[in-house]
Subunit: 184 residues, 2 copies
């Protein structure tokens, strides 16, 4: 029985992760990025702050994993390039509009401006998988794909900051028409 | 002599404002948006925290006034529309790259996602003057101008968050070519 002692003390890892990710988004949605402290997230997830810090060394690392979970799986890209990119942008816009997701996203980018370790995590864990898929799919330079990601993500987050609401569908479509000109 | 007592206790209002704005950008640049507390900004400006709160009811309000000061005056727009808009975008990109400005800008937008009062300040004090000038100049719908502002500001700030550095000139030019397609 000795072998099961440590796991019987808690929930399975995947269950705990799901509870923590849900609690993170709920706290960010209710209290804002700055207000959603590790203490409050731990309490909302029904776990100890020490347990959180064993899995995520910083709030930024937890937010990035929460976003990775919220944005998984990435939708498949069909054969028609403009239609596939439009679909991907609509998918991102809808995700950013989910409770807590836009605020968590905007908050972690803001923290990253002055935090090199967080930028490294954002770049390697969060952005790189999308960058690789889009580069393969489009056959365009990395510089152009990074600009595409900056434009769609930056625009959606700026709109959230200015209005507190996701971007209206008509504006998402206008942004899609504009951003596709990067690949013409 | 009684009448001059209160002003002789401190610096003229405009000098104090300039010292506080400079201290705000310096603290944000050194400590990040979250780390630049009202306490630290007051100490760096050589004034009392109570003095700051008499002029700015919140950190968000102080950051917005600091940014307004950093972005004044807005450059004049010449007669050639594409050239004038390109010039305005280059001006914004250079400003966002000044020490503390990009981080202050990204931080206040992130806070605003969950703070309606701050969004109101951002919208009326910060965005509206540019919106009015651009609407008059371009003769385009407000919806289109707001999208233009979201795209250029959001893209520049997202790049700062991902790289910690201002956008390279070649990317600024690619963004300009793309965003001008909104007005064709």
């Amino acid at each position: 029985m000795q072998a099961s002692t440590s796991s019987s003390a808690g929930r399975p890892r995947s269950d705990l992760n799901a509870a923590v990710f849900a609690a993170t988004l709920r706290m960010v949605d209710e209290l804002g990025y700055a207000g959603a402290t590790m203490d409050r997230i731990a309490a909302a997830a029904g776990t100890a702050k020490t347990t959180l810090y064993r899995r995520w060394p910083s709030k930024g690392a937890l937010i990035i994993d929460t976003l990775l979970d919220a944005f998984s799986p990435m939708p498949a890209l069909g054969q028609d390039r403009p239609a596939a990119l439009a679909q991907a942008v609509r998918w991102l816009a809808a995700k950013v509009g989910e409770p807590g997701v836009g605020a968590a996203f905007a908050g972690v980018f803001s923290d990253a401006v002055n935090d090199a370790a967080l930028r490294e995590l954002l770049s390697t864990r969060f952005q790189e998988p999308y960058l690789i898929v889009l580069k393969d799919y489009l056959g365009e330079s990395e510089q152009r794909i990074v600009l595409f990601i900056d434009v769609i993500t930056g625009t959606l987050l700026h709109r959230m900051g200015m209005t507190g609401r996701p971007m209206a569908d008509a504006d998402v479509e206008a942004m899609i028409a504009m951003v596709l000109s990067l690949f013409e």
